[in-house]
Point group: C2
Chain length 190, copies 2
Amino acid sequence: MMNMPRPTSSSPTPPHSFSAHIEHQLDKATALCTQQGARMTAQRRDVLGLILTHAHPVGAYDLLEELKTAGRRPAPPTVYRALDFLLEHGLIHRIERLSAFIPCTNLRHCSHTHEHSEACLHTAQFLICRDCKTVTEIADTTVLETLKHICKNENFVIQSTSVEVEGICAHCAAKHSATHPSKEISSQGA
Amino acid sequence: MMNMPRPTSSSPTPPHSFSAHIEHQLDKATALCTQQGARMTAQRRDVLGLILTHAHPVGAYDLLEELKTAGRRPAPPTVYRALDFLLEHGLIHRIERLSAFIPCTNLRHCSHTHEHSEACLHTAQFLICRDCKTVTEIADTTVLETLKHICKNENFVIQSTSVEVEGICAHCAAKHSATHPSKEISSQGA
DNA sequence: GAAGAAATGTAATAATATTACATTGTATTC
DNA sequence: GAATACAATGTAATATTATTACATTTCTTC
């Protein structure tokens, strides 16, 4: 029963298979982990892969469901442990307002594996669209610089930050004004 | 039996009684609501009063418990509805990372009732101490200005923001170095 | 004082997250 | 290559936070 035909021998259960593109990102992530002396196990890889397949933030229990289809029946701690690991190693972000998770953009556009975690800390800022649920990670260091400055003045030792902006993205805003050609601001849909 | 010596007559159940100081803040809050055409009911006043009595962020279910001692047996929606109201009117903030609530500082130091909600939007930035759990609201407009600028560039319509910095506050940092034999003041009750 | 709107009461349940402990897998040392 | 120690995972139960749906009450306005 234990004969899994896996040359590299790493998983008791076969991992999900993802698109070549995502597999590539997963390989990058694995390299980052190795570099940090951390182990990218099959479980963690699967969770990260699933997060990467989503265009939008994913909740822990969504991931749990998706893991189940693989023939396994994991429980919440399985997912939360993987998420904790991925968070710790800067591979994903948690969107506080949504209790959901997205990949770090640096992973998506990965080429510079070196100052990855540094960059992650610097750019953990998000625009959340209430309409289409898309979350965009902002590449801007000004906000963090300001926060650092403030904290320095207050002698506050900064460990982590979250900056989240909720509103309507350009695309959805355009959609709306297209739907209502004449009147724009009068309707309040909530 | 129904003779509550309350001129304005608003509560079916007697509201909590708070310290003069907090009552004063509650009066301010009530004034702000009136100004906005909103009703500060006994229920909402009680919840806000309870939040004001806490030195630290309070969870919804903590508030629920505290409301119960008054002889009532409210259910979660009661508290959440009050919280929603208080949030909408800029009287409290929700700390996303803690799923907890704190009064808006403008309420604590209230004298300028006029541009209250404006100011609130501008300063919804918090320093969260992991050690003593104290949350400090930062009075700084730079961060929001930066965010506005970014959003303008992206054509993102900004509706609300949260900026949270987690770390160790000056006081706790000092406490820690005081643990190591040297100098510094070390007395403090939570 | 009746109609309609706002607020509250109530029961049930959904969604998110953690604890505690047993088991398995992996790396290392002898 | 067995013994060990530690990291990772499995599993069951439960804690915490939040919402839905609908009945009832209260308030405002006419």
